[in-house]
């Protein structure tokens, strides 16, 4: 019924271990039945997506891919992608291959993506569909907690082309549109931006935005006293409205915000 192009990010970040837990079973009983599949992991290496098959995963079975096992060091790339495909794939691809696996829509087919740090854990059920090159992003970030909690913005970008295209991510403040910082990042990466040195108050709303990179934006942090973690992604502007032509409206929202924020640069 659907051949969604769905991947799950495996993150390689400082101080954090990442686990992607896949279950080869449909999340509902009315859209489609799962079928035997193969677990793959893909990573950009030397200008190509290097894909390798890890294992066959029969229907109803469960498999965990960990960053500790996949990445040889923290110095390696910050993200790989895990996916299920109906057939075994392997080799180097100029573009991220379409897994060709039928998936669901209500809800979307997901995996558990978990970050572990010193015995604490934060998860979310998610997926990522590769973004267009030179996409855009606009995120309002409500997650900053008072010190000593350590607050980060975590951005994840996956694009079809096997490259690390340079881009810029900006941090502004929503009420006065002041530009606080600009960071250089690359496509096909996961990046942590520390937020605690910018003087945001508890009533401030940081805006994290990019005119040349789409991403999954999220707030990640931990309390060094107890280890308690928090990880949740923000909604895109389209999720602040429902029904109707909300994606068309989102394009207008982004355009107006980018114009307002660029004026303050």
């Amino acid at each position: 019924m659907y051949a969604a192009y769905v991947f799950f990010p495996l993150l390689n970040l400082p101080e954090l271990d990442c686990k992607v837990s896949l279950i080869n079973a449909s999340p509902n009983d009315w859209e489609l039945e799962a079928s035997d599949a193969f677990v793959h992991v893909a990573q950009v290496k030397d200008g190509a997506w290097s894909v390798r098959c890890l294992t066959q995963l029969p229907v109803g079975h469960h498999f965990v891919v960990s960053s500790e096992e996949h990445f040889s060091s923290r110095a390696e790339d910050s993200v790989a992608v895990v996916f299920l495909a109906p057939e075994e794939l392997a080799g180097n691809y100029r573009n991220l291959p379409n897994p060709g696996l039928r998936t669901t829509s209500l809800p979307q087919w997901r995996a558990s993506i978990c970050l572990n740090r010193k015995g604490a854990r934060a998860c979310y059920q998610g997926e990522i569909e590769p973004f267009a090159s030179r996409g855009t992003a606009l995120s309002f970030h409500p997650f900053i907690q008072p010190r000593p909690f350590v607050n980060f913005f975590l951005g994840i970008n996956i694009e079809v082309a096997a490259e690390h295209r340079p881009a810029q991510v900006h941090i502004s403040r929503a009420n006065d549109r002041a530009l606080i910082a600009t960071h250089s990042v690359v496509s096909n990466s996961a990046f942590l931006l520390a937020l605690d040195n910018y003087g945001f108050s508890q009533q401030d709303l940081p805006v994290i935005w990019s005119a040349d990179l789409s991403m999954i934006p999220s707030g990640l942090g931990w309390d060094p006293r107890s280890g308690q973690m928090s990880w949740e992604h923000t909604h895109p502007p389209a999720s602040m409205t429902v029904f109707g032509r909300r994606w068309e409206h989102q394009a207008l929202v982004k355009k107006e915000w980018f114009a307002a924020l660029a004026d303050e640069r």
């Binding site: 854990r121 309002f140 549109r177 009533q203 309390d223 308690q228 949740e232 429902v242």
Partner: protein, 269 residues
């Protein structure tokens, strides 16, 4: 024409009313409504719940900051969906307020769990042109007993319509029973809570199934009152189990609380 063909020939609104269209939420019927998720609060016994209130209109349309503050109403209900209190507050454009939902409840001796929804007074006029409606699917921060810092989770269902002081549930019921299975296998020997909320006008009957490989067995039946909530707790004694939730909703997606020794993990299915 076969019965299936006859049903398929009906208009979408009629098919939706009959529960034949797989949608999580039905469109609102009021004029200039404000939609909201049906969020869950936890209070008492060391639990705290905070909600991050944003001036959504100023984020959707940056020009609306000239309209001034957004007047927001938070409607809080108990676990049976009965109204408890309303909190009204004012949020400046481009700012946020972190409000302690649980504070007054705990002080009043109310404990455990319930639901709340959020209505915004200011909505950008141009939403009419795009035939779309403002909705708050915002962010709830929970601190479990013994913790100070919060673990955040966002709303996952446009469940409630606020219009002219009235509240109208928008959850879409299915013609038949539907099963939702979080693609998550709880760790053995770790306490988990699957929290369900009912975004419809009728009592929701839920069957919980434990799935172990090819086998599944019913382990619980739960009733959730309209606009109410219920908890299904598990403490798995072996790995690779999953839990399915069968109901008359197209999508009954729980919020999952995981109680690790080093802190709380919370996410939705």
């Amino acid at each position: 024409m076969s019965p299936r063909e006859h049903l398929a020939s009906l208009s979408r609104p009629i098919r939706r009313r009959l529960g034949l269209v797989p949608v999580a939420t039905v469109p609102p019927s009021g004029v200039d409504p404000s939609l909201s998720d049906l969020f869950v609060w936890r209070a008492g016994a060391g639990w705290t719940t905070h909600f991050e209130v944003l001036n959504l209109a100023s984020l959707i349309d940056p020009h609306t900051r000239e309209l001034g503050n957004d007047e927001v109403t938070v409607s809080i209900r108990d676990e049976n969906g009965m109204p408890l209190e309303e909190v009204k507050l004012s949020v400046e454009a481009g700012r946020k307020l972190s409000i302690p939902i649980s504070k007054d409840l705990a002080e009043a001796g109310l404990q455990r769990i319930g639901t709340f929804s959020v209505a915004h007074c200011v909505s950008p006029p141009r939403l009419v042109q795009f035939e779309t409606f403002l909705t708050d699917r915002g962010y709830v921060g929970y601190s479990s007993p013994g913790q100070i810092s919060k673990a955040y989770v966002h709303g996952n269902l446009d469940a409630i319509e606020h219009v002219c002081g009235e509240i109208n549930p928008l959850g879409s019921r299915s013609f038949g029973w539907r099963q939702y299975v979080p693609q998550y296998s709880p760790e053995e020997n770790v306490f988990h809570e699957y929290v369900l909320a009912n975004p419809t006008k009728r009592t929701l009957h839920v069957e919980v199934l434990e799935i172990d490989g090819p086998l599944s067995r019913e382990t619980a039946r739960i009733e959730v009152s309209p606009l109410g909530t219920a908890i299904h707790s598990v403490h798995p004694d072996r790995p690779n189990l999953r839990y399915a939730f069968r109901s008359r909703l197209w999508l009954l997606r729980p919020t999952i609380f995981v109680h690790h020794p080093n802190g709380l993990d919370v996410f939705h299915g």
